[in-house]
Amino acid sequence: MEKYTLTNGIRTIIKRNKNTPRTAIALYFKLNNDEEKSGLYYLMIQLFYQGTKNRTSEQLANELDENAIDLNIEKKADYIRFKLLCLNEDINLALEILQDIIENSTFNEFEKEIIKIKGEFESDLDSAKVKAQDEYYRTIFKNHPYGIGRKEVIEQISKITKEDLLKAYEEIKNYGQKNISIAGDIDKEIIIPLLEKHLCNIKNTELKDNRKKVEPLNKNIVSIIEKEDANQAQIFMGWRFPNIYSEDYATIILLNTILGSSGLSSRLFLELREKQGLAYTVRSVYEPFILSGHFFVYIATEPKNIKTSLNGFDKEINKIMTEIISDKELEEAKNNAIGKRQFYSETNLLEASLSGYYEFLGLGFDYEEKLIDSIKNVTKEQIIETAKKYFAESSALCVLAPRKYLIEADLLKI
């Protein structure tokens, strides 16, 4: 893996993987401002597919598909990411299309795209799990853009004007930090001039983050959704956890491995699924962002099991906060977490995305090695201390179930 800086200052990571047929590109645009109206950034990325001054949306779609170029533009909590995957021989064309989208998107079809997004999100919310998860994010990141979900976007997106969108894009395009990462069977002597050619007009400046701070969650919040025909209760319970820059990051990765992030041998899986037969899906997730992070446990279970499941969560969370883990469990969790990291860069797309992400965060493209060293050095005392530090704080609970069972679980009064 090698690092270059393009003439316009864009940090560039290149990894050559010989004998791989497809090249992957991940380009990160940092978001320094909160969206003024909910759904603005999502609308923006959808409109990137809707044509440029040189290509109509249909021409763009045809050209991508005819050349088997996968273009995936994502809006995440802290950035917009363009991911491109193409056969090696099409790299020039893929970069030319990327340049065209970035420089020449017309953002036409504005009204139509709003209707499409509303329709897609309404369809997503017909899934009980998506509905509950959306509500959980709204609860854990109450009053913060990190918590904006589909429901709020459906309600707010029509208020966005084209001027709002153009203004926001100008900000991102002209003033934000960008970085790019490429993995594939590519020669740096060929790819660097191509990047200079196609990305030379993008401005790259390191600006301060103007986004709203995430306020602490000062009390436990319970949010419920009544869904009479639900066959399962959807339960999300979460806590605020630190961001990726935290000194506790490596410890939390292990905490998550032990509790339920990975596979068939975690504590939640063994206790709630294997021993108690409460669920098919039970897991924990740690999601660190730049401004904050959160950690949640999730179970989907027969509605009459809500209380038992919540007790199960409490028991496991209390256990990890109060009982020191054995040397064996810690060692196994370390080997598990470190071994699993090899999956994160198995393909060119995964590798470009990961190295690009670390570079985006300013941690350096080779952060993975440092992180593995940090994981190796975590002690069992750190596990218990970290668990106490964050799990003792307020939590957000979201439960979706038929009314009768919410009442039975004391989550709803008659």
């Binding site: 949306s57 399962q232 196994e332």
Partner: protein
Amino acid sequence: MKNIKKTLIKYPYLEKPVEIYERECGHKIVFAYKRGSLINISSWVKTGSINENDENNGISHFLEHLMFKGTNKHKAGEFDRILESRGAIVNAATWKDYTFYYVTIPKGSDERNFNDTLDLHADMMLDPIIPDNEIGEPFDIENPNIKTKRERHVVIEEIRMRKDQPWTKVYNQTNQNMYTTHPYKRDVIGNEQIISTITRECILDYYRTHYTPNNITTIIVGELNPDEIIPKVAKAFDFKGRKNRENDKYKIDIPTQTTKYVETYSRINTGFLMFGYLGAQAIDIKTCTILEMLALILGQGQSSRLYQELIEKAEKQIFNIVSTDYYHFRDGGNLFIQANFKPNEKENAINLIKEQIHKICTDGITEKELKKAKKKLKAGFAENSESVSDIAETIGFYMTVCNKLECVEEYMHAIEEITLEDIKNISQSYLDINKAVISVLMPESYKK
């Protein structure tokens, strides 16, 4: 190695040919060389819901869960713990024609991870004890006071989960109505009544019947030396004289001769619909490839016909989502068109899809569309050659459903050879708008 027949198959996008070793007992071992730090070991069994009936529907999938519940050497949970503590991903899946079990694990600096994974995997495949206390007592599904919940309940929760998924609901209705007698009509996961009562003896009997040497293919993918590992695999898979059995054959169902329409309801806000057509047997590589191309041209990607005509260029936004898929099955695949739409536009939605089907059958496709489909299918194959688990899945599919890996070569050849005429002929043979199964899931407020 004595009594092992070796065949080499040229496999696109891999550095070396794939090696197939057929043992005298019928067990097959396949090795694919793939550079990288991960290795994948999997075993594919030629059984799934295809071998089930109304009394034991769901048994293949339930057995898949129970295979993780220990052997005479390792108690339940050990397999998962040992392998996951080395960073492995361990899992299994059941579908209509097959069940497979896999471990993907970092190769490590010595042979330890390969050797231990192989031993544990072979042990699980050959000596599952499926203890009563892990299955759980049979119980009455109507009884709300069951205290001890074991694996039966886990599977029942999986069934419940699927009942809350609108796409699964609409798919199950389509699937059920596409067949008359063939076992494919049943949902792979089965139902609560069967899972709550099926006996251990029944499950063991099913295992003994179907987990025979000639029904199992073990696949190894990674940066390994086949001369070293193949003897180890053959040794680990000691079937101890286990008898083979001919697989059952089923009468191939013919497509419905009139359009079958099914409407169901749920507490949702949008409408879900699915058109289903029976396709060709998986071994008919050329026809299946043409049907794949048709699915791709009709509804895969933003340039596809359905997306462009029904979403991008639509004067009125009726559709939220529209796409197509082709599923390959031994006794005949399925082509599906699925859509999510505004429920007050149901009739329009159905007619608009019918128009597009009619158009492709009548006018065929363009040269440009054919070229696109060919390139996308090839790129799709390249994509499936990027990870050890995807390579193993492709090999497992061809070895298990088509019975031979040579189909990979046939597939690449078919992509090159297919003409506009072929596409038109096949679309007319398979996609008659008056012979579709149409399943619609509507919001309850639309119930008459």
